[in-house]
């Protein structure tokens, strides 16, 4: 019997199209895998029937000789930030527990239209705020990876930690993620998978629970560059319902994939070599350079002078936007309502939000409220938006010297669950390499760069010019072909 769960998007799609197996067989196989992996906590709800229905529809379409979609027969995991019609959508928060959207997000609708099926809703950091998946109301997600010789539970990263864990553990061939300040790339990196955040505006934000509107972007998480290219094609596209959506044709990234980087120049930003960056991270960065050189690229040193200010600027802008975006969770129209005896309207709001939001969400709402409050706007928010201009300008200037930028995705490998609890700032530093590209809206991807001495995956990040997902994917492919990364976690669960 074919081991469907070892197969990726392209193989499943092609096998279904060729009639080597049915979409139903694939869906059944993944459904079983998902059901047996409850211990990882990757899913908040599972939807095996949805996966089977979608598979049956694809099999029927094939039987009728109809053209099949880009993702036909591929069952995927859906991050719980995407509204799914008739299926509970919570953003991993108690405040939305039980919320059944009467609508489908544009991105998920695009995927279903392309023939994908839904295995379930994936766990995540609450409202996508976190880098370890410990802020979920539905419990932490455990990474399928463990340090060599240790049984300690590790983080799968965050906020798309259910997605990264599920893909790495072969519970699904691919999953959706969202990236506000690294939430696709960081979990992909530390679980040894591939994930791309496209240019801001490529994927519609309509129907995606908002965290920070000017930064949020959806993207695919899978186990190969090609799979990401296929899935991104299916997810992306102009949406008139999102005023920030890019009105551009979706390129045929898969068809144009090429690992030949002749004529390309790769920039190595000096400022990403920070004090205290572990040697294994630096080593993997060096290997990345060599692989790209081997693929024909020229390597140059570049400077992105405002890099150090990107993360603090992000921690003003994102919480500010979040404090406003999350004001709608008030117990009036949906979700949790906590109405203490005799409480008035405003008391109900305060009680509902106190009971419904987790600590990290509260922390960010408070920071955001503070930096926008009377008298502080210019010093914090406006200054941060000016820094953002400078960070974006750094990249623009770099593009006169190079076509792509190579950097580590994260400053460390997976850490233990609980290790950084109680030190929010240390947790925030996980996204130090990911945030600059977010602030500038640039396409950026993490691809596996090998294992460290503990046997844990490390990621390499490629950052491209606006709209140049192709360049990013091509360079990712060049690394993928040379790294020979085929490590996968031992199956210790179930």
């Amino acid at each position: 019997m074919t081991e469907f769960t070892q197969m990726g998007v392209a193989d499943i799609r092609d096998g279904v199209a060729a009639g080597d197996f049915t979409a139903r067989e694939v869906a059944e196989s993944f459904n079983a895998q998902v059901a047996a992996a409850a211990e990882l906590g990757a899913f908040i709800v599972t939807t095996p029937d949805k996966a089977l229905d979608a598979a049956d529809a694809v099999d029927a379409a094939r039987a009728r000789g109809e053209a099949l979609g880009k993702m036909a027969g591929v069952p995927i995991g859906m991050k719980d930030l995407f509204a799914t019609k008739g299926v509970q959508t919570t953003a991993a928060s108690h405040i939305l527990e039980g919320f059944i959207p009467p609508y489908e997000s544009t991105v998920s609708a695009n995927l279903w239209a392309a023939g994908a099926g839904m295995l379930g809703k994936l766990n995540m950091d609450q409202f996508a705020m976190g880098s370890s998946n410990e802020t979920s109301h539905f419990g932490s997600v455990k990474s399928p990876w463990r340090k060599d010789g240790s049984n300690a539970a590790l983080t799968p990263g965050g906020s798309s930690g259910g997605s990264s864990a599920a893909v790495a553990a072969r519970l699904c061939p691919a999953a959706t993620g969202t990236d506000t300040g690294g939430s696709i790339r960081q979990p992909a990196a530390i679980t040894g998978i591939t994930g791309i955040k496209p240019t801001y505006g490529r994927c519609s934000r309509w129907g995606v629970v908002a965290f920070a509107s000017s930064l949020d972007q959806a993207g695919p998480m899978a186990r190969s560059v090609k799979d990401c290219a296929i899935m991104l094609e299916a997810m992306a596209g102009f949406d008139p319902k999102d005023a920030t959506s890019l009105d551009m044709e979706v390129p045929e990234w898969e068809a144009h994939l090429s690992a030949d980087l002749s004529g390309k120049t790769i920039g190595i930003p000096r400022e990403y070599r920070m004090d205290g960056t572990p040697q294994d991270i630096l080593d993997s960065w060096e290997r990345g350079k060599e692989w790209l050189k081997d693929a024909g690229a020229k390597i140059v040193d570049i400077t992105l002078p405002h890099t150090k200010y990107a993360l603090p600027a992000y921690y003003i802008i994102a919480p500010a936007e979040a404090s406003s975006n999350l004001a709608r969770y008030d117990g009036v129209r949906y979700g949790l309502r906590d109405l203490p005896e005799g409480a008035g309207l405003q008391d109900m709001y305060a009680a509902t939000r106190a009971a419904g939001f987790g600590d990290e969400v509260k922390r960010r709402i408070l920071i955001g409220t503070y930096v926008l409050s009377a008298g502080f706007y210019d010093a914090y928010y406006n200054q941060a938006q000016k820094i953002r201009t400078l960070v974006a300008r750094d990249f623009e200037q770099a593009w006169s010297q190079c076509d792509l930028i190579l950097a580590p995705t994260t400053p460390n490998s997976a850490f233990a669950l609980d290790e950084m609890q109680g030190d929010p700032l240390a947790m925030y530093l996980n996204d130090v390499f990911a945030v600059p590209a977010s602030l500038a809206g640039l396409p950026a991807m993490s691809v596996p760069g090998g294992l460290n001495s503990d046997g844990l995956p490390l990621g390499l990040q490629l950052i491209g010019k606006p709209f140049d997902e192709q360049g990013v994917l091509d360079a990712g492919l060049a690394i993928e072909q040379r790294s020979g990364f085929d490590a996968q976690p031992d199956k210790w669960w179930a």
């Binding site: 509204a83 609508y103 908002a210 000017s214 005023a243 406003s324 004001a327 009036v332 129209r333 926008l372």
Partner: protein, 497 residues
Amino acid sequence: MSYRIQGATGEWEVVIGLEVHAQVTSKAKLFSGASTAFGSEPNSNVSLVDAAMPGMLPVPNRECIRQAVRTGMAIEAEINKWSRFDRKNYFYADLPQGYQISQLYHPLVGEGQLLIEADEKAGIPEDKVIGIERIHVEQDAGKLMHDQHPTMSYVDLNRCGVALMEIVSRPDMRSPAEAGAYVRKLRSILRYVGSCDGNMEEGSMRADVNVSVRRIGDELGTRTETKNVNSVRFVMQVIEFEANRQVDLIENGGTVEQETRLFDPGTGTTRTMRSKEDAHDYRYFPDPDLLPLELEDSFLEECRASLPELPDAKRQRYENVLGLTPYNARELTAEVETFARFETLLAATASAIGKDEKAVATQVANWALSVAPGVMKSLGDEGDPAHATAEAQAKILKMQVDGEISGGQAKEIFELVLKTGRDPAEIAEAEGLKQVSDTGAIEAAIDDILAANADKVEQYRGGKDKLFGFFVGQTMKAMQGKANPQVVNQLLKQKLG
């Protein structure tokens, strides 16, 4: 004569600024495709966007932007080609997003102005220009109902997300009369432009009334803001009440609190609004769901080209070109419906008579302002205004100008037109509502009268000119009122010679 509050310690001046919220005329809401229709079932004109469901996003309605730009042009304001939407954050049950999308930092329309005209009777001694600081576009909120349930308020989001223009005046007004005139004039401009229907009862126009008082020549005092006042009369009442309240308060050693107040139309008083007491920190910031709004020249040109003749220009034209009295010009231009009817009738009459509009304008104005409304009023329900077509009225006016009918007959004919919809000429003929211009019949009548009143003829010829009226009256009586008075005059003069 300036408006002053007479306090126990002397005279006080009132300083008034108005923030008028005018609902933009559009079919769909500002950021969603739900209808703006008034009076629908609760929560039926509500989209997922308006209900602020998770992940919903705003996309602005072009028509709302266009109407606000046209309104700005109508008050001679600067139009900002680059503007932005900001979020105004506060928690209230009528505001599902937890913020109102508005414009603080970069409004669509900048500095403009509006003229209020002198009106002695109303207490406005001379023309005055009122500054308008800005117009911005924003979302309306929903509605709360408090009297449906003992312990709950009910929320209806039908209005939520409807586009409003907030038109912010400078604190340039100094009396309730000026504020009243400002609101009326603004309403007139909005209705000319077609950007707001001006229906205050349905809430299409509401004013937040900012009032402060000061001793003559002092610095500005602390102001209060009375929210959502929905008639011109109420605006004036609020000012009257607030000004006196503030003067009393200060004179009794108190201080005016900067606060939001509510008007109670039943008592004509205002009171502190408790529910929004702590909402002063709105944490405005640019809405990250929306990019800056950049207007192209072609869009602005289209807006300008589509502007109609505005009230001030029209009134001047009526006076200077058509030769109407200032009173008539003002009355005819105050309301869109009035000038529209007038201009249609004027064109029809001029063309029926074959003269230019100027030659018949005064007659048509008198007809439109006093004769026709008088007849319609006296008829009440018996008349059908639909029969009062421009064509029918123009025919009546032509018959009158041609001397075929008298003024009295014109009214009678119009009455019958309103009742029956019959053709005026046919009515005149069939009902005998025509003047006799036949000199033979009139001459015969005059001859009889002169013969019967030989003594008076003598007196007249002896220099008692006043008797001419007597002969006219007798002749008209003999002709049963149907003789053409001009012909009667002419013949009498000849015969009395």
